[in-house]
């Protein structure tokens, strides 16, 4: 986030939270570990984009964030992060408006951290991750919500066997950022690498469905399995990455991880197809197939 607020200002805006420590930030949000009522929680500060020429944009964005958080509060899947004890509210710090709320604090390693440590997951681990994330996406899809920001950074591996992987961050920041993608290239969030190809079509919002999440589940699994994102190369211009997302057929996973079961590899390849209709979208069948590899 540009112009991140000072931690003392955040503390003032959230007096019920104590011992704030920044643990992450993205294009439109900052996340702090905080103690709330004696419990560790993740305090989130999400910038509300506004347009001085159109005040309704700010209100619309705020309503959308609150609506999506309300939906998240109704989710029961153990594989989705739960809301914390600070309900969403608007706040102003300096001249910027934010939504502030908390989520449960998930301890463990993100899949991104595991990748950075050159961890090479075996089939059992990949399938386990797939099952947890697909179950989370299924629950969201049942509520007509698309996560929009599934990526290695947003999946935590925990020590809890009842929820070995937890999907974080409902993609609210990205959804907001989405409005700016075509208007302000400086505001393209870090999640650019994890954008589904159909989101690069004009008018995608009318046609977007949960298969955009299935694409990013596939991409995350592919990246975790191989250690690299097939579309994004360090130092490449953003346009090149977007072009690859739209046109490049990734190398088949089985060519890069030949010891993985070929049918598992082809399922991951299939989830990454450019055309949503070519992605297997039946959750029951998908989860059953993935369960077979655990």
């Amino acid at each position: 986030m540009r112009d991140k607020p000072d931690i003392s200002q955040v503390q003032q805006a959230a007096p019920e939270a104590r011992s704030l420590e920044e643990i992450g930030s993205g294009g439109f949000k900052v996340v702090y570990r905080a103690r709330v009522g004696g419990r560790l929680e993740a305090l989130k500060l999400v910038e509300i984009p506004s347009d001085e020429n159109d005040p309704t944009i700010r209100d619309e964005n705020l309503r959308r964030i609150v609506r999506e958080l309300n939906i998240l509060s109704k989710c029961t899947s153990p594989y989705l992060v739960r809301l914390g004890s600070i309900p969403p509210r608007a706040c102003r710090i300096s001249t910027t408006e934010y939504v502030l709320y908390s989520e449960e604090y998930i301890s463990g390693d993100s899949v991104r951290n595991l990748m950075s440590a050159n961890h090479r997951p075996a089939i059992v681990e990949l399938a386990g991750l797939a099952v947890c994330v697909l179950m989370a996406v299924r629950e969201l899809a049942g509520m007509k919500v698309i996560h929009r920001d599934i990526k290695p950074d947003n999946i935590m591996k925990t020590d809890d066997p009842t929820r070995p992987y937890v999907l974080l961050d409902l993609g609210i920041a990205f959804q907001i950022g989405g409005t700016g993608i075509t208007r302000d290239s400086a505001r393209i969030p870090g999640t650019l690498y994890y954008i589904a190809p159909e989101m690069l079509e004009s008018g995608f919002r009318q046609n977007l469905d949960y298969r955009a999440d299935l694409y990013t589940v596939g991409l995350t699994l592919y990246e975790y399995a191989t250690g690299s994102n097939p579309f994004a190369h360090r130092g490449d211009p953003q346009f090149t990455t977007l072009y690859r997302i739209k046109t490049l057929k990734p190398e088949p996973l089985c060519d890069l991880r030949s010891e993985l079961p070929p049918q598992f590899c082809s399922l991951i390849d299939q989830l990454m197809k450019k055309l949503p209709a070519l992605r297997p979208a039946n959750f029951e069948q998908l989860i059953k197939k993935m369960e077979g590899y655990r």
């Binding site: 469905d209 057929k249 949503p276 209709a277 070519l278 979208a281 039946n282």
Partner: protein
């Protein structure tokens, strides 16, 4: 892939023989061509004699928007009390769609079909049309209404699409994105791709049409739907390679390729010649052509049991058994167990056909217009385009 008999009039004992010999796996009945009571008894008899056979009825509701035409030949469709003449505007109302589905399901229920095909209208021009909106509504509502009947047999939604609609890639992709994600899906789809006229073979053997018909099969099968391709004839094994569950063809040219001409009086013409389906040509040649060519290019012969029917020239009623046998054999040759492997075999089959035609040409043997190699290039290009777009 399974192969079904596309039944028209003049059924005779062909279907029974095809089932008995294991050349086909089932049959699709046509309300136009059989009186309702006759159809019911034929179906019951077939169920009794061939309990493993798939038996379906194509509702042929797709002619409803044309039923006002003074020259239309509805045959026995009007025996079905659920069949009415509609205007598009009436079918834009969900309540009308629901009523049509409800009445049809009630009427088909007593028939001993193994699966039920839901009615739909004909998408006659493009996917960006009122017709396409109505057709999608039929697909969406089918399961919902069917569940009310308590019938547990598998349900197929139908898609009856003119070949022109398949030529706009963007609209086609939007359409398949829609129908592959349904809240209350059927078990499968009965797909008919319609030609402009029963004579216009080049209509269907067109690169975009072949590529998109294959895309339809792939996208639906990936999403767990069974796809039965009506009137698919020689394309059936190729559609099977793309994920299709079944193809169908019959004994007349209007049962091999669909066109609304089937519901209008024939323009006449001579009695069709008996033809032989050669796997190595991916086409039919006349009996006399087969006899002339085999001397120089022996591999036009399939070397399958029904080849003996062609010594001497058989009655026309035997021709379809040879076709089913050749298609069944071709399908077995093309099926590799996975889409990529099967498509590779499809490519090989087309290359072989191209080579066989070259050999025929090298002997300066002249073939009839329908027997020539006009289908090879669109088939090759269609397959290439399909593989590229499906990222295979």
């Amino acid at each position: 892939m399974k192969l079904y008999a596309q039944i028209g009039h003049g059924m005779g004992d062909k279907v029974g023989k095809g089932l008995e010999e294991g050349l086909i796996d089932g049959a699709i009945f046509s309300p136009k061509d059989l009186q309702r009571d006759t159809m019911a008894s034929r179906i019951a008899e077939m169920r009794g004699r061939y309990p493993g056979a798939a038996i379906l009825v194509d509702p042929q509701f797709y002619v409803c928007l044309y039923a006002n035409s003074p020259t239309i030949n509805l045959g026995n469709i009007s025996d079905w009390s659920c069949f009415h003449i509609f205007r598009k505007g009436e079918l834009e109302l969900s309540s009308t769609v629901d009523r049509v589905l409800e009445e049809y399901f009630q009427e088909v229920a007593p028939l001993e079909v193994t699966s039920v095909i839901a009615p739909n209208i004909y998408i006659s021009q493009s996917f960006d049309s009122r017709e396409a909106v109505i057709a999608k509504n039929f697909v969406r509502e089918a399961r919902h209404i069917y569940n009310r009947t308590g019938d547990r047999r598998p349900l197929f939604a139908s898609l009856v699409i003119c070949r022109e609609a398949l030529q706009d890639r963007r609209e086609f992709e939007d359409f398949i994105n829609d129908i592959t994600l349904l809240d209350n899906p059927p078990d499968g789809f009965y797909v008919i791709i319609a030609s402009r006229s029963s004579e216009a073979r080049s209509d269907i053997f067109h690169t975009d049409v072949i590529a998109n018909w294959m895309m339809l099969n792939l996208s639906l099968s990936i999403n767990g739907f069974q796809v039965v391709n009506g009137y698919s004839d020689i394309l059936a094994p190729f559609l099977g390679a793309a994920g299709g569950a079944a193809g169908a063809t019959g004994w007349y040219s209007n049962l091999r390729m669909f066109s609304l001409d089937r519901f209008f009086p024939s323009t006449g013409g001579r009695q069709p010649l008996v033809r032989y389906l050669s796997k190595s040509l991916l086409n039919r040649v006349t009996f006399s052509e087969k006899e002339a060519v085999r001397v120089f290019v022996p591999n036009v012969i399939n070397h399958l049991p029904h080849d003996t029917d062609y010594d001497p020239e058989p009655e026309r009623s035997r021709e379809v058994l040879q076709s089913w046998e050749a298609l069944r054999s071709l399908d077995l040759e093309l099926a590799a167990g996975d889409v990529a492997g099967s498509l590779e075999r499809c490519s090989q089959a087309i290359l072989r056909a191209r080579q066989t035609y070259s050999e025929i040409a090298s002997y300066e043997l002249v073939l009839d217009r329908k027997s020539r190699d006009d289908h090879i290039q669109p088939l090759w290009e269609g397959l290439r385009q399909f593989k590229e777009r499906a990222e295979l």
